[in-house]
């Protein structure tokens, strides 16, 4: 009750004061009154500056760059043209973009298939001590550098690596198998990196399901499978959607995994952009590809936002 009374008091004071007197009564009042007082702008300015300097200006520059041309040795000529976007609409480039979409989609799907049972176990079956331990174990890979992890995979997957050595020893293989530089190794790397992004939102969604609903389902005669299909699965949908988008979006821009674990046939959009900026010295074309990538990322995030709104409105 008390805060409300105090609020009313403040409101009363403010209305009782004549608007014209304000400036000489309290010299600094202009800082704190009004719908968006100046002080709020001042306090926000570090954050606004941050966004302006590190987000708005680079993105603007990149967008402008995507319309530029190149001159001698990749020198940037600021003349407006759509040629770069014309170039990336050619079949060879569209193939790379299509391949990237397929890899990102496949990664999200595999993460879902692997992540669902794990999240289900953590949410429903594990006791609270084990639950914390498992969630901790899930986060562990985040604390290693991606590059170190990639080198570990090179050791594990190589012809003289752990898997080949084991399979040769067990007699499953007679000659070492080349796992590296294949679509398999790239997808494996991507799944390894992004799996936690699927498990965590799924876990959050499953954890939120009221246990009473499951009990009710059982009471009404539904078996385990039916309860899972009709109650748990539909209620976990927001987690599935968040996880899928959280994986799909960064996968579109990933280039390290394909660079190290991939081969000539796993050239992805991220590698193409990397190549245009560094080896080919064609920054405008690289910028056009980046703008396209950003467009794809933003539509992904827009979709994610829609799903979230739907989720909260449903709850």
């Amino acid at each position: 009750m008390e805060p409300a009374v105090r609020d009313a008091g403040v409101e009363g004071e403010r209305t009782s004061r004549a608007p014209g007197k304000r400036s000489w009564d309290e010299p600094l009042s202009w800082l704190v009154v009004g719908r968006t007082p100046l002080a709020s702008h001042l306090l926000l300015s570090p954050a606004s500056l941050w966004v302006l300097v590190l987000l708005v200006s680079p993105v603007t520059l990149l967008t402008l760059l995507s319309f530029a041309k190149i001159g001698a040795y990749g020198r940037i000529l600021w003349s407006f043209s759509l040629a770069n976007f014309g170039q990336i609409m050619r079949p060879a480039y569209l193939w790379v973009i299509g391949r990237t979409l397929v890899y990102a989609g496949a990664t999200a799907l595999i993460c879902l298939l692997l992540g669902f049972p794990a999240a289900y176990y953590v949410a429903f079956a594990a006791d609270s001590k084990r639950k914390h331990l498992l969630l901790f174990a899930l986060m562990l890979p985040f604390w290693t550098s991606a590059l170190v992890a990639i080198y570990c995979w090179l050791i594990v997957l190589g012809r003289e690596g752990l898997i080949n050595a084991l399979m040769l020893r067990l007699g499953i293989l007679s000659t070492p198998f080349s796992f590296l530089n294949t679509p398999f190794s790239v997808i494996l790397g991507l799944v390894y990196f992004y799996l936690p992004y699927m498990v965590l939102p799924l876990y959050a969604a499953l954890e939120k399901i009221p246990r009473t609903l499951i009990e009710a389902s059982h009471d009404l005669g539904a078996g385990g499978l039916k309860t899972f299909l009709r109650v748990i699965l539909p209620l976990s949908w927001p987690g599935v959607a968040s996880g899928a988008i959280l994986i799909f979006v960064p996968c579109l821009g990933d280039f390290l995994t394909a660079e190290f674990l991939g081969g000539p046939r796993t050239y992805l959009l991220g590698n193409l952009i990397d190549n245009q900026f560094l080896a080919a010295q064609n920054w405008p074309l690289g910028a056009a590809l980046t703008v396209l990538l950003m467009g794809m990322l933003m539509s992904g995030l827009y979709f994610y936002g829609r799903v979230e709104v739907e989720e909260t409105s449903r709850v």
Binding site: A72, Y73, R159, P176, G263, Y267, N271, L272
Partner: protein
């Protein structure tokens, strides 16, 4: 051009502290002279820089790169503040045109006379103003003798179905496009679109057989058996050969290119005098020989000859005899339009 310079200077100031605390420390501690050196990775002898510091009291901040285009992209953005860099022949005109390197003051390097005459006035620096040759090498074929008993003798072996999935190619336009032009019978300087169509076709035809395009991991891959045959740089294979005798290197019968890496002085270098002292030191016969003996690329330094490892000097893979030398050519100097044709051809191969 002065506009580009000021922007570079500004970026340097703005980014110096953020980019390299070590460089900042080097600048603020005025009492101790130092020089910032940017070189290819594994491209110096173990004792070279410590000995230089011991002899002169000049500290060397040593940084390496594994990819020359990346090096150029970094220097181009002006974020680095080096004194001495190593640049390959084809990179020199680019570095000069972006005002990244400066002419070496005449007479500043008294050991420059040690450089062999054929390396003193190269096509990329006819007056010898900007560069001092550091090491040279060839591009050829590296292979694993355990997997391929009969030595390959043609570039076409890199297109052989027998080695499908066991081939790696150097990951840069300079090596692959020049090879394509050589095999299709065009000079490097051609601007004929048809030539580049043919090169593109040739390299794309090879692509299904190629396991990886890499300029840094191919030696490891050859050793582990991940690949059997690889487009390679002479010294890389010769270095690994010490511990992996199953490796070998050949210059194919169609001939090949030899390339030259050079010491260059960075324009606006923070420590120009110390930089020149380091360059002069690296041109001393004994020092140059130590480096060449370690990295097993060839030395263009005449004064180094007496100190070179005699076994290495007799090795035709490191120092090709006149019969092989006949088949070697220096990379031609390309104008920017041709460079763009090369880069586009290579990008097309990579995306296909």
């Amino acid at each position: 051009m002065s506009d580009g310079m000021t922007r570079r200077e500004f970026l340097k100031l703005a980014l110096l502290s953020a980019v390299s605390p070590r460089l900042l420390a080097a600048c603020s501690g005025r009492s101790k002279p130092s020089v910032n050196f940017f070189n290819w990775s594994t491209y110096i002898a173990k004792d070279t820089l410590p000995d230089f510091t011991r002899d002169t009291g000049i500290k060397v901040n040593y940084n390496v790169y594994a990819d020359e285009e990346e090096m150029f992209a970094k220097l181009r953005s002006g974020a680095m503040s080096y004194d001495v860099i190593v640049g390959t022949d084809y990179m020199i005109d680019r570095l000069r045109s972006f005002n990244i390197i400066a002419p070496i003051p005449p007479g500043a390097l008294k050991n420059r006379k040690n450089i062999m005459p054929i390396f003193r006035h190269p096509a990329y620096d006819p007056k010898g103003e900007y560069t001092a040759a550091y090491l040279w090498g060839t591009s050829g074929i590296g292979y694993n003798k355990n997997k391929i008993p009969k030595p390959p003798d043609s570039w076409r072996d890199l297109w052989s179905e027998r080695y499908a999935g066991k081939i790696s190619m150097l990951d840069n336009a300079r090596d692959c496009v020049s090879l394509g032009l050589l095999l299709e019978g065009y000079p490097e300087t051609t601007t004929d679109e048809k030539a580049y169509e043919k090169v593109k076709h040739l390299l794309i035809k090879q692509k299904p057989l190629v396991r990886s395009y890499t300029s840094s991991n191919y030696v490891d891959d050859l050793i582990s058996g991940e690949t059997w045959i690889s487009m390679a740089w002479s010294g890389d294979i010769l270095q690994a050969l010490k511990e992996n005798p199953e490796l070998d290197y050949v210059i194919p019968r169609e001939g090949s290119y030899r390339w030259v890496d050079n010491l260059c002085l960075v324009r606006g270098a923070p420590h120009p005098e110390d930089a020149l002292r380091l360059m002069d030191y690296l041109l001393q016969g004994k020092v140059a020989a130590d480096i060449a003996n370690t990295v097993r690329y060839a030395s263009p330094n005449a004064a180094a000859l007496p100190y070179l490892n005699p076994k290495l000097l007799k090795d035709p893979r490191a120092y090709p005899p006149p019969s092989v030398e006949k088949r070697l050519r220096f990379h031609a100097e390309l104008d920017p339009v041709t460079v763009q044709l090369w880069d586009e051809t290579w990008s097309e191969v990579k995306v296909s």
